[in-house]
């Protein structure tokens, strides 16, 4: 079980490259903190707040998917295979927000 024997001949473990990971962590924490401040500290109209929160959520989702899930570094076809179907969901959401009213009347 000695793990030195599996390091492809070099016999040494490479230094961790974690700068970017902590950078993304700081961004995610900062955006979440900002969401809290806006949710509790400001008396803005509901629609404006909702728009800001959705925008910030998309920012967080971008960093999680692009960096943590590494999608940024995959080939373009794979990126689009994942993003394109989700864009249709976004379309559904937008359509419901803009025209969903008719369903209730």
């Amino acid at each position: 079980m000695a793990h030195t024997e599996v390091n492809h001949g070099t016999g040494e473990v490479a230094k961790p490259q974690t700068k970017r990971i902590w950078q993304v962590f700081m961004i995610l924490s900062a955006v979440t903190a900002l969401e809290f401040i806006i949710a509790l500290g400001f008396d803005w109209p509901h629609g404006l707040k909702a728009a800001i929160f959705i925008g910030m959520t998309i920012v967080k989702a971008f960093y999680i998917v692009a960096d943590f899930m590494h999608l940024k570094h995959e080939v373009k076809v794979l990126i689009w295979s994942i993003i394109l179907p989700m864009l249709f969901v976004a379309w559904l959401l937008l359509a419901l927000l803009l025209e969903g009213d008719y369903m209730l009347n």
Binding site: M1, V13, P16, T57, F68, M69, H70, E74, L78
Partner: protein, 259 residues
């Protein structure tokens, strides 16, 4: 098994060949994990769209109509910062969204430790993979424990309760309800609690299965399965799942607790 000296000498070269020959430059397993997560994203999208539709088909709280001081009522949708305002050991103190904030932070942090485990796997550093997987498992268990407390708090309720009108045997009866069940709750329309149970419950189930997968990966790492295999791709695949669980929480947090 191919009698190729290169393959025999270097464990892990097999998967490198698979990736190089794949049109999308990922292994089969990883590609299937991506498409599973895409289908799972559809499920969660459907749940959140349902939440939006049901929520906006109920009247919203309006200080000019319903009174300047917010009170729970079955006639309008509750404001989440009044429902989720409890923190363990600080009973009765109004701390809006603080506990959910702690849960969000725990999950983001456990996502970070998961990327660190994946990074350690790239370097074939077994000790580091073990360390970061263990932190990720602890983060997952911490999140589930928080959710258990939140559900208990939500179900048992707090304060005086709310008068709920119920249609029993052909006539309307009024009764005082404290806490929440599937049929009625003290916070607002019945659908509010139902959606809370379904959406956070479905997400919690994902966290739970994620913790089980993480424990499995941790065990395999400690007994050297991936070291012998020559690559830690299983850590990456389960890592994708774990980040997805975090991603879903980011959306649940926004749509259920903030808006």
């Amino acid at each position: 098994m191919a009698h190729n000296t290169v393959t025999l000498d270097q464990p892990g070269s097999e998967i490198q060949a698979e990736i190089a020959n794949s049109p999308l430059r990922v292994s089969y397993g990883k590609l299937m994990m991506w498409f599973f997560l895409l289908s799972d994203a559809f499920t969660f999208s459907a749940l959140l769209v349902t939440y939006g539709l049901i929520r906006y088909s109920h009247p919203a709280y309006d200080p000019e109509i319903h009174g300047a001081v917010f009170q729970f009522s079955t006639t309008y949708w509750p404001l989440p910062e009044y429902v989720f305002a409890g923190v363990p050991f600080l009973h009765g103190i109004h701390l809006p969204l603080v506990f959910v904030g702690i849960m969000t932070f725990i999950l983001i942090l456990s996502s970070v430790t998961m990327v660190l485990a994946v990074e350690a796997g790239h370097r074939m550093d077994q000790a580091d993979v073990e360390k970061w997987m263990l932190w990720t498992i602890l983060g997952g268990i911490a999140f589930l424990s928080c959710q258990a407390w939140e559900w208990t708090h939500f179900i048992l309720g707090e304060g005086q309760g709310t008068v709920v009108k119920d249609f029993v045997n052909g006539q309307w009866v009024e009764k005082n309800v404290i806490g929440a069940g599937l049929k009625e709750n003290q916070y607002g329309p019945p659908a509010f609690a139902d959606l809370f149970f379904f959406i956070t419950g479905f997400h919690g189930t994902h966290v739970f299965s994620g913790v089980l997968l993480n424990i499995l990966i941790f065990y395999n790492t400690t007994v050297g399965v991936y070291a012998r295999r020559g690559h830690y791709e299983m850590v990456e695949k389960v890592g994708l799942y774990w980040h997805f669980v975090d991603l879903v929480w980011v959306f649940v947090f926004t749509f259920f607790y903030l808006i």
